[in-house]
Assembly symmetry: C2
Homo-oligomer: 276 residues x 2
Amino acid sequence: MEIKLAENYGFCFGVKRAIEIAEESKNAYTYGPLIHNREEINRLQENFNVTTAHEIDELENTDRVIIRTHGIVKDELKKLNESGKEIINATCPFVTKPQEIVEQMSKEGYKVVIFGDEKHPEVKGVKSYAVNDPVVVMGIEDLEGHHLGVKVAVVSQTTRKVKEFMKIVNHLIENVKEVRVFNTICNATFENQEAADKLSKEADVMIVIGGKNSSNTKQLFSIVERNCKDSYHIEVPEELQPEWFEGKKLCGVTAGASTPDWIIQNVIEKIRKFSV
Amino acid sequence: MEIKLAENYGFCFGVKRAIEIAEESKNAYTYGPLIHNREEINRLQENFNVTTAHEIDELENTDRVIIRTHGIVKDELKKLNESGKEIINATCPFVTKPQEIVEQMSKEGYKVVIFGDEKHPEVKGVKSYAVNDPVVVMGIEDLEGHHLGVKVAVVSQTTRKVKEFMKIVNHLIENVKEVRVFNTICNATFENQEAADKLSKEADVMIVIGGKNSSNTKQLFSIVERNCKDSYHIEVPEELQPEWFEGKKLCGVTAGASTPDWIIQNVIEKIRKFSV
């Protein structure tokens, strides 16, 4: 069986940057998981003593706080900045962008629509920058019952699928006089998605590696499973099952933006062992 | 044979308004045809002595100039305003809107994209309000080779089909960071199009009445001919052919936004005569 990696996969610019920042910030705390990959977070804890705090109160024990790639809520950032602690901001610049847009547009009187998962930390952060009441939607059905007015600004969670973003935008354009569309889906997400789509059309088994709570990994999985019915989303090599590869000719491998290369390599090695 | 009118058809707000203005401006000249309907223009000439000038030089003979519903080029309007003549502006307010948007957006540094027919007077007028170099497109292929930058504002000719506008908008969103979408397609166009679409699905012959150079009438025709293969675009009752209605059960009738009711009534009467 041949094993083929997608042309684009894994670590994006923002994640690489955040990990470098963390490696240079020994003994610091991150507020929330730095990235959505447990294995990599464990590595940072073990090798650099970078600890994950899950609640803001847990940060009382440290004077160095790293802000996670997904960003945090505006008021909490303000509170931390005022606390006298050293704040090391590892928010991905592609996430800072929609935060700024939402703040600016809401100040200019635009109704803000955010395409994304209300429960995802990135979206919680972006939403918190609006000075009026933004609407968070996963599909056009979520727009129902909202009074949108004549001026709407729309942004997307960075890791969403562009086609689904379009559906929402198109619906808005049909109903609102001015729609200001900021395509804040990040290029790495785009590129990983396109490469996954392409590879999954030729592969007869697809392995998608990444955190189970990683939005962009889940998007990758939803793309590949449409093309290749034998698709699996795993976090660690231990989850691989030998029977997945029986009789297969081409195994495609891709990984989410927060999946480190060392995990991808371990996965590929384990698959290779099955196929000899 | 039953004859059925579309639920919405004919005169839009802007055309009604322009005709009222012309009727109250006896002996005036219009610069270009007031609306795209020759019969109605002849009526205004005969009953109100409102004359159509096709070149700006022809206006030398009058001191009262009516600006046509489609609007005119900015510099010419300026020249006319400075000429000392009385200028009666019958530009449809839905056309003034994209003119203002294009001026404002181009001043703010947005690349302006206009969806429409470069040769249509409305588009020529709208385009002339840009302070930088706007791009006029009929489809995404026309965007090729243009450097769009990171900020694009897009408007539509008022009489275009919303689905085609979306195609252009979607292409822009995939390629440009900020796309400011102004849905300037007018509601009357929308409503006439929707009603024509609906009626042409049940009719076995469709008559679309309106000027052969009327953009919105041509759009109506392109919608109905998809649903009903026996569709005809006529300007006057004389064009009707008895064989079009032989063996038909339901004749649908619709008309463009510049088609007066008296023409529609004449057409219906003539069709009725064929079917007895």
